[in-house]
Symmetry: C3
Amino acid sequence: MKLIMAVVQDIDSPKLVAELTRNNIGVTKLSSTGGFLQRGNTTLLMGVEEERLDEVLKIIEKICRPRKHVIAPFPASPGETMAPYPIEVTVGGATVFVMNVERFEKI
Amino acid sequence: MKLIMAVVQDIDSPKLVAELTRNNIGVTKLSSTGGFLQRGNTTLLMGVEEERLDEVLKIIEKICRPRKHVIAPFPASPGETMAPYPIEVTVGGATVFVMNVERFEKI
Amino acid sequence: MKLIMAVVQDIDSPKLVAELTRNNIGVTKLSSTGGFLQRGNTTLLMGVEEERLDEVLKIIEKICRPRKHVIAPFPASPGETMAPYPIEVTVGGATVFVMNVERFEKI
Ligand SMILES: Nc1ncnc2c1ncn2[C@@H]1O[C@@H]2COP(=O)(O)O[C@H]3[C@@H](O)[C@H](n4cnc5c(N)ncnc54)O[C@@H]3COP(=O)(O)O[C@H]2[C@H]1O
Ligand SMILES: Nc1ncnc2c1ncn2[C@@H]1O[C@@H]2COP(=O)(O)O[C@H]3[C@@H](O)[C@H](n4cnc5c(N)ncnc54)O[C@@H]3COP(=O)(O)O[C@H]2[C@H]1O
Ligand SMILES: Nc1ncnc2c1ncn2[C@@H]1O[C@@H]2COP(=O)(O)O[C@H]3[C@@H](O)[C@H](n4cnc5c(N)ncnc54)O[C@@H]3COP(=O)(O)O[C@H]2[C@H]1O
């Protein structure tokens, strides 16, 4: 059993969760916030048998798309000089961590 | 040190957290949502010394009970045919992942 | 790649996230609750290359401070005798778990 933790954009989460459920993949959703943009995103936890790992990564890839966000520059600390124009940041479709599960129990 | 991530039903969480605390087990609570039922549940994080792992799993087993939920069927996508009657889903007491902690620090 | 899960006090989280971002460390923030004090705290997820692990732990150490909280004693179960006076609890700066990431993907 592997545990996948995937940080995805809020806008892709409903479709991704529906597709995972349709394929009988267990998933738990956590609301989260991106450190850099300070905007809401979604962290999904999926316990997956090792032989289905690639299938799940393909589903994530199919549904989660990178998007460009235009942000007004913000000073990290007061007095820091800011760019006088908005900057463009590309937010990836998903940031995915796969960890080993030593023991899995359904109680 | 092992990290236990347990997804439990909201209704069992207060009693479980109190019992863990009474037994000097550290625990952090995260609000979460089930992928299938789209209902709130609770994800607990517990860093536990390896020799106390079985004790903690027994406490979870003692307090977390499976329950039947009756749900009105919902279409995964518009136009999909729905069962004309409510369906019964059994939600387990806890879904538990145990992972190895390579390094543990109290700062 | 290692995944750091750090439970920190809410009051230190903004400064810590800003410092991590300034140092190009990716971070995702989850709102959480302490099991014992039942107060809000913050759980940070950081995927970090192994050679930057010590650097990140030093940043956490620099910013997260232990603090004394005075709490009115609360009965774990009704009828339990309570201390007749408030008690002092020291909450540490950070509780840090480091786990191995078997696979890391940016989609
Ligand atoms: N110090 C910095 N300087 C300049 N640009 C920066 C930056 N930090 C992040 N960015 C950019 O901003 C996007 C949003 O980052 P945020 O931290 O809000 O939201 C992140 C964060 O919540 C999570 N994430 C990414 N890498 C992570 C890591 N190593 N550990 C934990 N969470 C991570 O995934 C979300 C999307 O990340 P993604 O890389 O696709 O997209 C990132 C990246 O393109
Ligand atoms: N492998 C895994 N990875 C990550 N999180 C996991 C997981 N397995 C379970 N969970 C978490 O635990 C909750 C309870 O799961 P349980 O299997 O007891 O109880 C489940 C199961 O009996 C049923 N169920 C789940 N997915 C289904 C599906 N695709 N088809 C039919 N029934 C499903 O509905 C109940 C509630 O599911 P829901 O998703 O709302 O809520 C789930 C989910 O939040
Ligand atoms: N092994 C572990 N696994 C998962 N999460 C963990 C953990 N150890 C600590 N945490 C998380 O870190 C927070 C701060 O813990 P710390 O040990 O610094 O500070 C603790 C500790 O000094 C004290 N404390 C905790 N449990 C206690 C108990 N059973 N009896 C007496 N004092 C306790 O109260 C402070 C606040 O605890 P609280 O639970 O509200 O909040 C905890 C909890 O959210």
